[in-house]
Chain length 239, copies 4
Amino acid sequence: MATRIQLGNGQPARSPAPRPRLRRGAGRPTGAAGEQLRRRILEAASAEFARSGLGGARVERIAAQAGANVRMLYYYFSSKDDLFLAVLERAYATIREAEKALALDKGEPQEAMRRLVRFTWGYYFSHPEFITLLNSENLHQGRHLERSARVSQLHAPFLEMIGRLLERGARAGVFRHDVDPMQLYISISGLGYFYLSNRYTLSAIFKRNLMTRERCDVRLAHIMDVVLGYLRPQRSSLS
Amino acid sequence: MATRIQLGNGQPARSPAPRPRLRRGAGRPTGAAGEQLRRRILEAASAEFARSGLGGARVERIAAQAGANVRMLYYYFSSKDDLFLAVLERAYATIREAEKALALDKGEPQEAMRRLVRFTWGYYFSHPEFITLLNSENLHQGRHLERSARVSQLHAPFLEMIGRLLERGARAGVFRHDVDPMQLYISISGLGYFYLSNRYTLSAIFKRNLMTRERCDVRLAHIMDVVLGYLRPQRSSLS
Amino acid sequence: MATRIQLGNGQPARSPAPRPRLRRGAGRPTGAAGEQLRRRILEAASAEFARSGLGGARVERIAAQAGANVRMLYYYFSSKDDLFLAVLERAYATIREAEKALALDKGEPQEAMRRLVRFTWGYYFSHPEFITLLNSENLHQGRHLERSARVSQLHAPFLEMIGRLLERGARAGVFRHDVDPMQLYISISGLGYFYLSNRYTLSAIFKRNLMTRERCDVRLAHIMDVVLGYLRPQRSSLS
Amino acid sequence: MATRIQLGNGQPARSPAPRPRLRRGAGRPTGAAGEQLRRRILEAASAEFARSGLGGARVERIAAQAGANVRMLYYYFSSKDDLFLAVLERAYATIREAEKALALDKGEPQEAMRRLVRFTWGYYFSHPEFITLLNSENLHQGRHLERSARVSQLHAPFLEMIGRLLERGARAGVFRHDVDPMQLYISISGLGYFYLSNRYTLSAIFKRNLMTRERCDVRLAHIMDVVLGYLRPQRSSLS
DNA sequence: TATGAATGAGCTTTCATTCAT
DNA sequence: CATGAATGAAAGCTCATTCAT
């Protein structure tokens, strides 16, 4: 414990011969204590990225929020970008997991569809960080997600589930026959996402606060109307 | 040598966040030559903000792109934030101006509605910078738009125009009666905006490129179906 | 001059869409004041790189030594590597310039050769920073120099000059005929360079300080012997 | 939580530079398994120091390369500097050991000298890491070697061996009489070392790749010419 | 003998903005 | 109207080293 003088002749990684970065294998610690810190960092990052976007997020704030050293952030995740991807993957996994509980294969088709619409709106509503995360990723042209194998695997079964619901409804005569599951899901999402994501600009241009409890209920009702109205079997061709 | 406190941590963030000064109305009267440079800066800024967001945009790149000196940027616009607001205002003015040409008060209601839907999709499609701009402003919680008197004035007549169209259609028996103009407009926008804004994440999770010519046409047709399907007069209550 | 709070929503260059670095055109200021600071930085960098190598050099030390802000270093030279290259180029230009004054085309061939040998040793002796610079560049596998067009242009005339001297001597019967100018120059250099560059390790293993005035003179005399001994016309083949 | 002063600015630098502690002799006695790991670390370090220099080398990379934990590196060698010294010592021991096999005391003097020249060139040629190691140590002003008792012991017998060879040759009338063994050895080394150590800068300034098989052979022949040319008994004084 | 987790200092580079001319 | 020079603060990331087990 004596006073010690260190030379520590550091020299940043730029200069020497090009050598592969020592990637920590995406940082997989085994100890339980480590796992806990890793998760805290992930959660803090999620909040920070949501609040400020990828570029605006500060690694130091993330570390502080997680009660960790900045260095540890790089110990578990190798870079800010990798951390962002981890956050994204977790976010997608969470929502898709929650959707499984909807049991769309059960119950009356119209009622199941209402569950889906309500859930989707509700999820965006109570997870604004998910919206900001996606917007960030899109600003960056999907740069991170395109490296992720995990994420796309989550969605095939999800679309199939919606497809089965649409078929059930069509067979029961309550849904029209020509509906594409992906298009429908994008519509259900978009109807809520846009309202919530653009809450500030919409509130500004329409000069009213769109986020009051009442107006949000109105919005959900409207979305419900749009989706189910659209799904009604057609009497005659429209478009 | 004035005392200066810098936070330099950008982004909306912390609640008592000190707002950047938006010294509006400092619009210097400029000669014709100056006016031209001013516009070049505005255009360069538009592109840069669109590409990189507010935080990611670099004043130096904007100046370089405009063939100007960074100092000039500060001469015409007093700060990066003011410049961003100017860009935003111009973007809103442009789209609302274009919408006037739709003449929604004329022609068959359903056809007029189709024009609106088609235009809205087309505008987002061919002005991706508008989308990025709005996303940025929303990430920053509408901080800039909040100060703008100009923008909200643009939208009252616009909603009225849609309202008149809905009434015409309802009276003609081709539209349902319970439609709120703002909700409808938000829906029309959202159906296209979400698809285009989230093109990268959606393409990644659904493992297909959503931006091919064909898929975009499919999307527009779907939106058309949704909007007009929803507007069909109801036989029975749905929700 | 009031207290001012700035948000300055900075966001480092990493995140956004890949855009070309705004290279300042290798930084060419026109003002005289700027040119002066630029030179001071170059000189400070030369000393620092010499002392510590490329990797060990600290930009902050360079800036401080030059009486400048670190930021200015990046204003004039765009990166540490570019600065290193500038230093290298200047170093080569300086030695080659000095060599021109040797007037090898004049005087007796043996005497001219002695001038060259003496100069080369003397230059390395009194410019140890040149040695360290070259060693650094070689440690980095010539990464910087290979981007330089300027440097190689300096050397063609130099080799020609030596070639002419060798011919003169051969014709006069005092030099052997089979000498390659480049090989000879590398030998003249190496005989001095190695002694001076490796002064510490050689002193350590031979347990004597090789850098005393006397020993340095002895070394120069030895080199002279080796070079001129080698150049003596052959009576019979040797190798 | 001891008070700790870190300079962290590496490199030889400032004169009163606090020397890194070189706690020698802490050589832990280790079992056979441990000895093996120790050697693997030493070899990995040798490669890493050679590739990147002392400052550019990364302990983590060394450990990874050795298939060991960073902590183990500190267990066997107490610091990066100590490790570097160990590598240096091993390198010197290796080359001096190899030289013993030259049997310079046997055979015709000129032929023995040719063996020495050929060996020296060949060793540098096939051990580029030795060159980089020495350059690093010299950049650091021989800081490590200074402490080593082992190394200097290796060289006295080596110089004596060369001295005997020179005497043999002089007595036989094939070598001149005034040759200093150390100077000659430094010359033989320098003629090859400089060419190989500065391969990148020389290739750049002379615009040709000096490391082709053919050019290397040419260089060796040239060195041979220089050394034996110089050693030829003089007819008249030269310098 | 071995390992994962942790640390604090320091590195290069970048940024929005302003001064002096 | 226009420009080059200058600045302080901070950002992301990396380093050698040690603690706890």
